[in-house]
Point group: C2
Chain length 179, copies 2
Amino acid sequence: MKFCSQCGAPVALRTPDGDTLRRHVCTSCGIIHYQNPTMIVGCIPEWEGRVLLCRRAIEPRRGLWTVPAGFMENGETTFNGARRETLEEANARVEIDSLYALYNIPHINQVYLLFRARLLDLDFSPGEETLEIRLLDETDIPWEHIAFATVRNTLTHYFEDRRRGTFPFHMGTIEPVKP
Amino acid sequence: MKFCSQCGAPVALRTPDGDTLRRHVCTSCGIIHYQNPTMIVGCIPEWEGRVLLCRRAIEPRRGLWTVPAGFMENGETTFNGARRETLEEANARVEIDSLYALYNIPHINQVYLLFRARLLDLDFSPGEETLEIRLLDETDIPWEHIAFATVRNTLTHYFEDRRRGTFPFHMGTIEPVKP
């Protein structure tokens, strides 16, 4: 951030009175521009034991597999965001069930919220950001080609939990990959 | 948002190619400025059956009672954010336990994440944003003077769950108050 989005003047990094962190503060109108983490909302759509995965048509991780998920929008709830992303990426309708996983990714200022979900019918097709969609049994999951650690961890827990017959909530933190 | 935070030129509301929503797009450099919901993270600090509440020294809802909670910062996890807010607002140290409640507040683009927590000692005092702190039994909770619906709902569930001896995760949506 270089300029104030309210008045167009340059911003400077300063610690406002009563604050403990440096913020982008406008040098003209004085407004403080806070920057906060964003939420990625998505779901694990299930149909008769199989899970719907999407192969990404966009960067990052183009060509790799993920569950339907994306940035939560203003004006929606977490679960409606997960439903919308599933419709956009897979043209698929789901009934959202319980919150299943929360992953913190502090080094990129993101929080993932993934819900369990029931696919309502088999009428699905790739959206604009998707190359290909498959309904996969556990044995067919392309573990070496999953786009994100959050999704790999969530799917691992999911199949373990299903064998145990219980789906407790999972929370974790993703650390940066060491070079 | 009126000006581009990258180059200072005016922004316009447009629907970018491949998008479905109108965004603030820079009329000069073309960058798209997405706006997304923010997270409020906090906890319910407990000590021998009593709960720590803070009376707010700042707007909104100055003078009313809340649990320690505030905007999640970039670079932190949800639970570390809850711990930091408790330190800032109450100078209190807690051990964060499980995620207890998620509230969607779509009309103000917020998501509340509240954790159960164990107060580690009785050395607490009001922070800059707090007028007064109390450790309260259920019978002493000032139900008519709670600052936010999220906090009132969470405390109601909390004491009900404690009587039942189990603390399941709660999720809800706060609607705008009708005039």
